[in-house]
Point group: C2
Chain length 130, copies 2
């Protein structure tokens, strides 16, 4: 398979696939003409990576997950630990965003949004921290 087909079937752009090779996540073979020659296993790995990325795992986590996936002697506890840590990080991000959202939403509600200059949003931003 050439990169175009793999891109289509994995859902990842060619650029990303090349990048993943660059950083050593996959090692496709090469045809005589210099083109990357992907096997089914490469495609499978890329799909794995794509899915892990949509779940928000870092590239580093992906690397580890992929190696665990290929390691038949893995312990599911290793996988679970990574996932739990990631879950915690997600929760923290959500909490942070909700805090932002809360403040911002109050400010937006308080702002008339008309042609006059006075604006609670700017007032808040410019007020001294207590």
């Amino acid at each position: 398979m050439n990169i175009g087909e793999v891109a289509e079937r994995s859902g990842l752009p060619p650029k990303t696939i090349r990048y993943y090779e660059d950083i050593g996540l996959i090692r496709p073979q090469r045809s005589e003409n210099g083109y990357r020659a992907f096997r089914e296993t490469d495609l499978h790995k890329l799909a794995f990576l794509g899915r892990a990325r949509t779940l928000g795992f870092s590239i580093d986590d992906c690397r580890t997950l992929l190696s665990l996936y290929e390691d038949e002697a893995r312990e599911s506890a290793q996988v679970k630990a990574i996932a739990e840590e990631h879950l915690t990080a997600i929760d923290e991000k959500i909490a942070q965003l909700r805090a932002m959202r809360g403040t911002l939403s109050n400010l937006v509600d308080a702002c008339r949004g008309d042609h006059r200059p006075d604006c609670p949003i700017l007032s808040d931003l410019s007020k001294k921290p207590a």
Copy 2:
């Protein structure tokens, strides 16, 4: 004021303050010795920026907000529009994270996390997209 004091009083690291000067958000004067010489207005601006950043506004938004703040002929509608757009973006991010969280949390719950290799998390990552 030197940068150290401004850093402490604004809560921003010196590196960040220099960076903000670099990209033209502030224009502190200079002392004869070459040190940056900050006035109260600079400090005020930096505090404004710091607060806007913690609310998640992009640097570009911050630049606009700052110029609106200094523009006495502004209309609060301009400010509100920026804030509302940002609010929408935050909502999208939260939705995305919650989707991740939902899937991931199911997978984590389903994984025994023991010494055995079989793991629903890896199974899910490796399964073909429907």
